[in-house]
């Protein structure tokens, strides 16, 4: 039975991380976590409102190490420089460049100095739940199945004072304590190439695009349904890369506007006077009987993608997954609310909503949706008044444009 399934998928399903097609704009999203209100309020905030998972940002605070243990038979990381030292240097430059893409976004507290200097380790299988952020190119993991190119395992916490392995003790709700990036080393048919080597290896995946995407998860992003976003869950086809290559003039060139807006929301800079715009509202079905009866209390469309488009240029500037709100002490209410932050002031925007089943599916956003609630079933002893059940993402509607007044 196992073999049969595998053979069918070999041709019928092709490979994961394929590409994009329809230019449908949807949204950035973040990993969410509900603080453990069973703990004292001093370490849990006392609120069951979901918080975003994110790195603690301060100068030199985030350290990244990468394992120089590379797959050798076959070689899966292809470089232009073939010397042993040259290969490592070339790969390290790609890692640094991929990080610089994110720190190159204006209007955020994530700046180059946020990261400690990139360091190497010769240790094999360095990735693990040890509180140290690693990048591993030669470490097998149960998460890899055929078609999975790379993933990031993120460990965050729902209370203060917690640490994992040698990590810092959490001082921020939703703090990411460990984030490891794994590249699939076990699929002999899959190779990755540095930008310098990509043209000569058109069957290889662009290492820089994949790393930049995984660093998005590293920073707390979930996926985006904006096809031009680096956080779109499917990789560019072999031999191609996402967006444009970063340059010294535009270090964040490979990101989409949706990524940039998301980063400004996640790591907002109080000194930023440009991206202060915010749009919010609620989404209702035309017929309220279309709302789900279970779980009770759903009063608006949940899981709709609400997109802000720059009225002048037509660019998708940012978007979000709408459908819920939360007021202290929680829990989340599924009332159809949405809010898009981080928008540049002085612009006009068009907002529209669409179902989350066009370019991607709800499963790509599980961490941004399923994690909005905790209750006595999921967590024994959870207080009933702060418990809730996440409804299924509503994909049964189609949005229509209402004529303006």
């Amino acid at each position: 039975m196992k073999l049969r399934a595998k053979q069918i998928f070999a041709s019928a399903l092709a490979i994961f991380y394929g590409g994009w097609f329809a230019p449908v704009a949807q949204a950035y999203s973040f990993g969410m976590i509900v603080p453990d209100v069973r703990q004292p309020a001093a370490i849990s905030s006392g609120s069951a409102c979901p918080v975003r998972t994110r790195q603690l940002v301060s100068a030199g605070r985030i350290a990244v190490r990468w394992s120089t243990a590379l797959n050798t038979n076959p070689v899966t990381i292809l470089t232009q420089n073939q010397t042993a030292g040259g290969r490592l240097t070339e790969i390290e430059q790609v890692i640094a460049q991929s990080l610089a893409v994110w720190t190159g976004v204006s209007g955020t507290t994530l700046v180059p100095a946020t990261f400690a200097p990139l360091t190497r380790t010769a240790t094999q299988n360095a990735c693990g739940s040890d509180g140290v952020n690693f990048i591993c190119f030669d470490q097998a993991d149960m998460a890899f199945t055929p078609g999975v190119l790379a993933f990031t395992r993120v460990i965050s916490t729902d209370r203060l004072g917690v640490q994992v392995g040698g990590s810092a003790v959490a001082t921020q709700f939703g703090q990411i304590l460990d984030a490891d990036i794994y590249f699939n080393p076990s699929d002999s048919g899959t190779t990755y190439a540095t930008p310098q080597a990509l043209a000569a290896n058109p069957k290889a995946y662009d290492l820089e695009s994949l790393l930049t995407h995984e660093f998005g998860h590293f920073l707390g992003f979930s996926h985006s349904a904006v096809w031009s976003a680096i956080m779109f869950p499917f990789a560019p086809a072999p031999g191609t890369f996402s967006g444009m290559r970063p340059t010294s003039q535009q270090p964040d060139a490979s990101l989409g506007d949706d990524d940039r807006t998301g980063l400004r929301v996640l790591y907002s800079d109080p000194a930023d006077t440009v991206h202060l715009g915010s749009i919010n509202g609620r989404i209702f079905p035309a017929n309220s009987l279309a709302l789900p009866a279970s779980p009770p209390g759903v009063t608006g469309v949940f899981g709709a993608q609400v997109v802000a488009v720059d009225a002048a240029g037509g660019a998708v500037v940012g978007a979000t997954i709408g459908g819920w709100s939360c007021a202290v002490p929680g829990p989340a209410q599924f009332d159809g609310r949405y809010q898009i932050d981080g928008l540049a002031v002085g612009h006009s925007y068009t907002v529209y909503a669409e179902a989350l089943n066009v370019a991607v599916d709800p499963s790509q956003f599980a961490n941004a949706t399923v994690s909005l609630c905790r209750n006595a079933v999921s967590d024994p002893g959870w207080p009933a008044l702060q418990g809730c059940v996440v409804p299924a993402v509503d994909v049964s509607f189609s949005a229509r444009t209402r004529p303006g007044p």
């Binding site: 149960m142 199945t145 078609g147 990031t152 089943n357 790509q364």
Partner: protein, 518 residues
């Protein structure tokens, strides 16, 4: 020089001018003597004592002082000035007596010696004088040194006891750190010793305690060939730091070694400041042992007496009975079939007629109870159905209607879902499909030999069953909307499965299987 010459000249004059009879030889000059006073005395560490030297039979009474032959002495033996002022060392020398010598300047072969005993009046006290210290915790000890003198006041700390090298450690300031592993016996002796006078020491008894708790979380049962995650949570006393290493073992009255199952993927994570959760994946044996219980024993390295155990049952295969067991029907007539599922909470069954899922018009169909026309049953949750006989007597008569448990362990698989929570830590991987409790889906599974199954290609291998507005169950692939890149053809493929009725999905699946594996 000038004076001596005149005296000599005087003697010469007398010799030539005096008596001629022989005279006795002149008496030798008197011997120079040096006497040190006092000849015996004692002095406290760091204190001073004064010696004097009396030089006789010479007008040159100058002396030089030495201690044990060392001119002026040194820090170990004590020092002495040219005036005979001796200062005792800060630490007791060995031996604790020294010789103070005054040597004549007039005749360096002449000297006098005094013997000096170097003593101490040091007294020590230790706080606390006994203590109980938890594994890996620290306890500060303070030693007070009292004396009327001026000795070296430093303290040398040491540990001893029957626990030998496992007693823990102590630093130069007297802070004791208990071992992370409980020694046997769990008693250590903490000793403070005067550096100045090693004969002065004081000890405190230290009882090493183990107060952490170990709790094991395990399911009450595991299906044969299935997997379960077992979590051991070690909660320690604040400030302590016992070793978190655990040893895991399986045993059972009906199994031994690998026949009890296999353990893998042991992970340890700090769940909070005081608790550490370790988990292990248990894969039960495919053959149910008899008796069918397996005991998981988790022994903490830090204190094996805190061993925790959990016993769980290996579930045997479920059983299904159908009633009535036989029936005789006329063409186009019906009978209600009931499936009774035992040994599992999942009472869902899959119906077939002569091996055909849902049957067909030739052998008869499985229909929703009372539905006319026949509404095919696609849900696995339906345990009561109608069997509708065909319009003509089938070629194979009688026919068999079969209900197969959805939870039949022989047809079930354990799927490793990635990510999860232990304590306050939440591990997540974006893109891994998540399922709600009770959700039904078709998933394509993949695993290497010996590994638990995972969902193949994550979203690509997940086909969820959802009811449409008319209540009809439809199948949608998670990645339906995404054009996928096929590395073999190097082309994008469109058209994932979306909103397909379950029956049609099953037909497509069966056809695909037949095409791929003739």
């Amino acid at each position: 020089m000038f004076i001596a010459l005149l005296a000599g000249a005087g003697w010469m004059l007398g010799c030539t001018a005096g008596s001629v009879s022989p005279s006795p030889p002149p008496a030798p000059p008197p011997t120079i003597a040096v006497v040190v006073n006092p000849m015996n005395m004692s002095v406290l560490l760091g204190n001073q004592a004064t010696f004097t030297a009396t030089v006789t039979n010479t007008g040159d009474t100058a002396v030089s002082w030495s201690v044990n032959g060392v001119p002026g002495g040194n820090a170990t033996l004590g020092t002495i000035t040219s005036a005979g002022m001796y200062t005792a060392p800060l630490d007791t020398p060995s031996p604790a007596t020294v010789q103070v010598t005054a040597t004549s300047h007039a005749d360096a072969t002449k000297s006098g010696t005094g013997t000096l005993a170097i003593t101490s009046d040091i007294a020590l006290s230790l706080t606390p004088n006994r203590a109980s210290v938890e594994l890996g915790a620290t306890q500060a000890f303070q030693a007070a040194l009292t004396t009327s003198a001026h000795p070296d006041t430093s303290i040398r700390w040491s540990l001893s006891g029957p626990c030998a090298s496992g007693c823990g450690s102590v630093d130069a300031t007297g802070t004791y750190t208990a071992p992370r592993i409980l020694p046997s016996p769990a008693i250590a002796t903490m000793t403070a010793q005067s550096v100045a006078d090693p004969s002065k020491q004081i000890s405190a008894a230290v009882a090493i305690t183990s107060s952490f708790s170990l709790q094991l979380s395990a399911p009450s049962s595991v299906p044969a060939g299935g997997t379960a995650t077992i979590v051991a949570t070690m909660t320690s006393v604040p400030g302590s730091n016992p070793s978190t290493a655990l040893s895991w073992a399986l045993s059972g009255p009906g199994c031994s070694g690998g026949s009890c199952g296999v353990l893998s993927a042991v992970t340890t994570q700090s769940a909070s400041g005081n608790s550490v959760a370790s988990s292990v994946t248990y894969t039960s044996p495919r053959a149910v042992p008899s008796p069918n219980t397996v005991t998981m024993t988790v022994a903490p390295q830090s204190d094996p007496s805190k061993t925790a155990q959990a016993t769980f049952a290996i579930q045997s295969g479920v059983s299904v009975s159908v009633s009535p067991s036989t029936a005789t029907l006329a063409a186009n007539h019906r009978v209600v079939l009931n499936a009774q599922v035992n040994s599992t909470s999942n009472t869902g069954v899959m119906w077939s007629v002569n091996g055909i899922a849902g049957g067909n018009t030739a052998f008869g169909q499985i229909c929703a109870v009372g539905s006319n026309p026949c509404q095919p049953v696609t849900s696995t949750t339906t345990s009561q159905v109608d069997y509708l006989a065909p319009g003509a007597i089938p070629s194979a008569n009688p026919v068999s209607a079969t209900a197969v448990s959805a939870a039949d362990s022989t047809k079930s698989a354990s799927i490793r879902m990635l990510g999860g929570s232990i304590g306050s830590l939440h591990s997540r991987i974006e893109g891994v499909p998540a399922f709600r409790a009770g959700e039904e889906a078709y998933v394509f599974l993949w695993a290497r030999e010996g590994e638990p199954f995972r969902v193949l290609g994550w979203s690509q291998g997940t086909f969820r069953i959802m009811k449409d507005s008319r209540g009809i169950e439809r199948v949608t692939q998670d990645s339906a909307a995404v054009p996928l890149f096929d590395p073999r053809t190097r082309r994008f493929q469109h058209g994932g499965i979306r909103s397909l009725p379950v029956a049609i999905f099953q037909l497509k699946l069966r056809k695909a299987l037949e095409e791929k594996m003739p």
